[in-house]
Amino acid sequence: MTTYREALRAGIRDALSSDERVFLMGEDVGAYGGSFGVSLGLLEEFGPDRIRDTPLSESAFVGAGIGAAIGGMRPIVEIMTVNFSLLALDQILNNAATLLHMSGGQVNVPLVIRMTTGAGRQLAAQHSHSLEGWYAHIPGLRVIAPATLDDARGMLWTALADPDPVLLFEHCSLYNVSGDLAEDAGPVDIEHARIRRPGTDVTLVAYGGTLPTALTAADDLADRKIDAEVVDLRTLRPLDENKVIESVSRTHRLVIIDEGWRSGSLSAEIAARVAEKAFYQLDAPIERVCTAEVPIPYAKHLEDAALPQPDDVTEAVLRTVG
């Protein structure tokens, strides 16, 4: 059995071993072993030059990752959580995503930024954001969200081969998920969505931390004789809209599950694209299950109520098939 955390670590180790340009940098990635334990043991294995602890200076070390990438290295920058990435937003948006264009194609930025995202651990408003949808708004970035062990193991390799910046979001609820991972698990594509559960009655679109929610709901729906298909977006930018449209064209019903807030969200983008390109395939209005429009509360029962739950998905599906 392997955990999601171990799969990520194996991916990082693999990259460090095979390419001397690769290094990992971020807050507490070394001596502490990573705030979520992802890089535990790597300092001993690769040394402080390549497993580089940084000060609490998100803008400086993310920008340094950009500069190092331009200078011929292949940095993996870990931002402890998406919440703190806001302190580096200038570097991500105004430099990483923009340098290639502003320079007329001269300066590409082969940088991977990993960060934890999501809520569900009673960490209250400032530590519970799901802002990957914001980043998916930005041309010049690729945004990926591994939800499975295979993707946790294999997405990093492909991301490091990308000549442009890639943001990799790890949902905090996934680190302890465990399962079987093939010995020879390796690179996976970061272009396409995947069907995680085939079905015929309704399409559930999810990614990252909402994939388990969707799969749980799909099991529940099966008990009610509703056969749900679950699409894992995997890559949030550029969106694999074809996979979603293809699925909707078979099921004719769509429910989108997104831990971001509803307004101006990734779920809104997916709904809009399906409405634009597959409107006549729909037999029911599109449903969305998103986080309530409130900063995430501390109290457990309120946090649970704010976040997309399997029962919310089931209810949304029942509305579309009803």
Partner: protein, 325 residues
């Protein structure tokens, strides 16, 4: 000509090139050939000429939005700089960047950053890359006094000093962050002193004296190459023109500008050269004629430059596909 005279002649040439180029840019802007924001360098030429003369061909340079002078002194051809400001494909950033985003990777000139302080982290990273690759190169990072108030500045001072990176921080202190005078934006206006607090050698230089700038840069570069970590120079200068072409310049007295023009770096160096018999009226006339011809040629090249077809609008957002490794 001896080495000192040669060096002075080159610095004078560089400053006059920049000055005349900027003056022509004003005309071209008024004629609407150049649009957008344009920040002139007039008055600060000693900094560009003095700093860039000390930068090796493989060293990296990161600059700001007031970078025409830096770009020219770095050796980016004048026609490529001007064509960029015309928005043409023969511009040094293919017309995608404009006045504030001049790039030339071949000359390791990494922009043209128009977010105050935003270039510093990138410069730190470039220095980190050379350090990790054990290359004896220096990254030179230019920014203004306004950047010293940004959080990114302090994060970068700390990180560069902590990791002893080969980087030269060049703070062009022209006394104004746009329209805000330095004593209205900084509690401590001795900027070199503040850099010292990060544990790196730092000192202030008369930024209107190109020889003083060049000497300080040479000294700092030598120390950095020898492995002594980051250095900080506060280059005290002044811009004679407004912040940008949009700026009505209401926040300072004309008399203040007049006082500073008495320290104009160009006549200052020319005067010293004359006194030492290194410059005659004929020499100066010849130099001016050469520069005028270079500018005329750059204007012609920029005007003749092609506009990018609109069909190519979404280029340069992602790199062309490459084989997975």
């Amino acid at each position: 000509m001896n080495a000192r005279a040669k060096r002075r002649a080159e610095l004078l040439r560089q400053m006059i090139r920049i000055r005349r180029f900027e003056e022509r840019c004003v005309q071209l802007y008024s004629a609407t050939a150049i649009r957008g924001f344009m920040h002139l360098y007039i008055g600060e030429e000693a900094v560009a000429a003095g700093v860039l003369q000390g930068v090796g061909p493989e060293d990296a340079v990161v600059s700001t939005y007031r970078e025409h002078g830096h770009a020219l002194a770095r050796g980016i051809p004048m026609d490529a700089v001007l064509a960029e400001m015309y928005g043409r494909t023969n511009g040094c950033s293919h017309g995608r960047g404009g006045s504030m985003h001049l790039f030339d990777v071949g000359r390791r000139f990494y922009g043209g950053n128009a977010i105050v302080g935003g270039g510093l982290p990138v410069a730190v990273g470039l220095a980190l890359a050379t350090a990790m690759r054990s290359r004896p190169l220096v990254t030179v990072c230019l920014f203004g006094d306004g950047a010293v108030a940004e959080g990114e500045f302090h994060e970068c001072m700390n990180l560069a000093a902590l990791w002893r990176l080969p980087i030269l921080f060049c703070c062009e202190n022209n006394l104004y962050a746009m329209g805000t005078r330095i004593d209205r934006e900084h509690a401590e206006t001795d900027l070199a002193l503040r850099a010292t607090s990060y544990g790196m050698p730092a000192w202030a230089v008369d930024g209107m004296d190109v020889l003083a700038v060049a000497d300080s840069v040479d000294r700092a570069m030598e120390a950095i190459r020898a492995g002594s970590g980051p250095h900080f120079l506060e280059l005290r200068t002044y811009r004679f023109r407004a912040h940008s072409m949009y700026d009505p310049d209401r926040y300072r007295d004309k008399s203040e500008i007049e006082r500073w023009t008495e320290h104009d770096p160009i006549p200052r160096l020319a005067g010293a050269m004359r006194a030492d018999g290194e410059l005659t009226d004929d020499d100066l006339a010849e130099l001016e004629a050469e520069v005028d011809a270079e500018i005329d040629e750059a204007v012609a090249t920029a005007e003749a430059g092609p506009l990018e077809p609109v069909e190519q609008l979404t280029r340069f957002v992602y790199s062309p596909k490459v084989e997975a490794r």
